[in-house]
């Protein structure tokens, strides 16, 4: 393979990558722009810039309620998801047992699935059980979709886990719980941390499942959608920009934590 042609291909692909990045972030940029518009209705070029909608967002009671609903759901989902996914990942990647292959495929099913249909199915299920949907039923709905994803994330970490480490610890006198605590968890924690991060963010930004299973409560994405379709206010782009900023901060911060801790260790 001539070096020169690889160099050209590399440069072309870098340009292409740049285009894709711009493509991905363009709508986010538009939303951020719109949040600074003073006018009630959006027009470009923006006639007047203002941050008043940000002040409104922070002071509005209804926004605070939305925030609380989204946060409660996301936090609860994260905690439960991490526990279930940790053990689920051990079963997925770490242990050899009969039925593992089938289990792997079943775990993936909720991911390869249209969320709106899942949400509706859950709604039907709740009503046939006589359960009235509210933010707690939304937690359950999120878990069905998010726990498999978190399981996958932790599994990827678990695959590179040397089984001999656990055996060695066992051989050296550790009980099964001590093995879990001293060896398995410390080595798998970056995967668990990523799983927790993903769980939180995916729950926070989820719309299709929330739409059908929160009942009277409302999350931020639901509110955004409702306002987009009818009753537009510039609070929409404002909340959108804030949410994006929050997600980016969490992700970059989480990544930085992992890199830092890894460097500290060695």
């Amino acid at each position: 393979m001539a070096r020169r042609s690889t160099g050209i291909i590399r440069r072309l692909l870098a340009v292409w990558a740049g285009c894709v990045v711009v493509f991905m972030y363009l709508p986010v940029a538009c939303v951020t722009l719109a949040s600074f518009s003073r006018n009630r209705y959006f027009r470009f070029p923006i006639p007047n810039y203002d941050t008043k909608w940000y002040e409104r967002a922070f002071s509005s009671l209804s926004v605070q309620e939305l925030f609380q609903t989204s946060l409660s759901i996301a936090l609860l989902v994260t905690v439960i998801s991490v526990v279930l996914a940790f053990f689920g990942a051990l079963a997925f990647a770490r242990f050899q047992w009969r039925g593992r292959k089938l289990y792997q495929r079943i775990i993936l099913l909720p991911i390869f699935f249209p969320q709106a249909v899942l949400g509706l199915a859950l709604l039907l299920w709740y009503s046939s059980l006589g359960i009235i949907p509210d933010w707690r039923t939304a937690v359950f709905a999120h878990l069905v979709w998010i726990v498999p994803i978190a399981t996958l994330v932790i599994s990827i970490q678990a695959y590179s886990f040397d089984a001999a480490l656990e055996e060695a610890a066992f051989d050296l006198g550790a009980s099964r719980w001590q093995v879990l605590w001293e060896v398995t968890m410390p080595i798998l924690w970056p995967g668990v941390f990523s799983g927790a991060l993903f769980s939180f963010l995916l729950s926070w930004g989820n719309f299709p499942l929330s739409m059908f299973t929160t009942g009277a409560d409302q999350t931020i994405p639901e509110w955004l959608y409702a306002k987009m379709v009818a009753g537009y206010t510039p609070l929409v782009p404002t909340l959108g920009a804030l949410t994006t900023l929050g997600a980016a901060t969490l992700l970059l911060g989480g990544y930085a934590v992992i890199v830092l801790l890894r460097r500290l260790r060695s």
């Binding site: 055996e167 050296l172 006198g173 260790r265």
Partner: protein, 354 residues
């Protein structure tokens, strides 16, 4: 070294579904000896070791430690410790924390653990300041020593070794083999080692057991195995030897299909059987005019191999290939494609069965 058995295996068998990995092994391992189980991949040696260490359960048979049956005792309660092939050092812990691990599991306090750890660092010729060093920064040889120190820490009665040197380059391996044997001498513990290299086993072991497809073929000291291999498998396992397929006649004579001559071989005391005549390359010699030997053949010098201090000659006699080894100072002065005469004496050969 006392000769009482510390570990007795009686009828040890392991089946995985239809596959029998380990088949009816009876073996006594003596207190304080360095015993090596040698076998090719798939011979069952790893499975056997894991059963002794407590990681697997035998399908049948008993394992007795000083007369007590330990089949049902799990690995973490056996007074034994294993050094793994990948060493299995905890990457998230320092050298010191690795070594102390078994002591921590026992509940021994920090100061005592540290004291014992420093003792081991010294014994294994590691610098004391390695205590807080990360294991990922240690060299290959250092990691081996850390793994060994970790295994020795809680003073086990038997140490098991699962081919720990197989992934290391030649020079380091040679050094570590000797170090391992030295440490065996210093600690006086029983070492049970497995490897696929008979050469490695010969360097370190007091006794060797040869495993082929789950069965124990031969057990003996390195000398015994070297001089009296039990069968064709063991002979070939020892490296390059000359092997002539023979049938033993009713009167005890040896007849070969490939060599059209009467073979003068050792007295086997058997008649009407099939076997192999084995001659070591170093026992073969080139016969000049007038020189004699019990057996003499002529063939073409096909190739010459330089093996460092020795030179190996490949001589083809019809379908049979002979290897002759000579020390470099006593090299044979011949050219490729020359017709040469080689020979050996009957007392330098043995006959083995299939």
């Amino acid at each position: 070294m006392a000769n009482e058995p510390i570990l007795c295996l009686a009828g040890i068998t392991k089946r995985f579904g239809p596959l029998t990995a380990v088949n009816q092994i009876d073996l006594d391992i003596h207190d304080g000896e360095f015993f090596t189980v040698v076998g090719p991949s798939g011979s069952g040696k790893t499975t056997l070791l894991r059963m002794l260490a407590g990681m697997e359960q035998p399908s049948a048979g008993d394992i007795l430690l000083r007369g007590n049956r330990i089949n049902d005792i799990p690995a973490n309660r056996r007074p034994t410790c294993m050094v793994f092939q990948s060493l299995a050092l905890f990457p998230h812990r320092s050298v010191g924390q690795n070594i102390e691990f078994s002591l921590k599991m026992k509940g021994i306090d920090g100061a005592e653990r540290r004291r014992r750890c420093e003792q081991l660092l010294e014994q294994l010729r590691l610098p004391l300041d390695y205590y807080s060093k990360s294991v990922t920064q240690c060299s290959g040889g250092e990691r081996q020593r850390v793994a060994l120190a970790r295994a020795l820490a809680f003073d086990p009665e038997i140490l098991f070794f699962d081919e720990p040197l197989s992934a290391i380059d030649y020079r380091l391996r040679k050094t570590l083999e000797k170090e391992l044997k030295d440490i065996h001498r210093e600690t006086g513990k029983t070492f049970v080692y497995i490897t696929h290299s008979l050469e490695e086993a010969m360097v370190m072991s007091d006794r060797i057991g040869i495993l082929d497809r789950g069965r124990l073929i031969q057990v003996g000291t390195p000398d015994e195995i070297y001089n009296h291999p039990a069968n064709k498998f063991v002979s070939q396992f020892m490296g390059e030897v000359n092997m002539i397929e023979v049938s033993i006649e009713a009167d005890g004579r040896l007849v070969s299909q490939d060599l059209p001559m009467a073979l003068a071989g050792p007295d086997t005391g058997i008649a009407n059987a099939h076997g192999y005549l084995v001659i070591r390359p170093e026992s073969m010699r080139f016969l000049g005019s007038g020189e004699e030997a019990d057996n003499r053949v002529e063939g073409k010098l096909y190739n010459i191999y330089s093996l460092g201090s020795r030179i190996q000659y490949q001589v083809r006699v019809g379908e049979q290939v002979f290897l002759v080894e000579k020390l470099r100072e006593q090299r044979f002065h011949g050219e490729l494609d020359d017709i040469v005469a080689i020979g050996w004496d009957r007392h330098d050969s043995i006959v083995v069965s299939d």
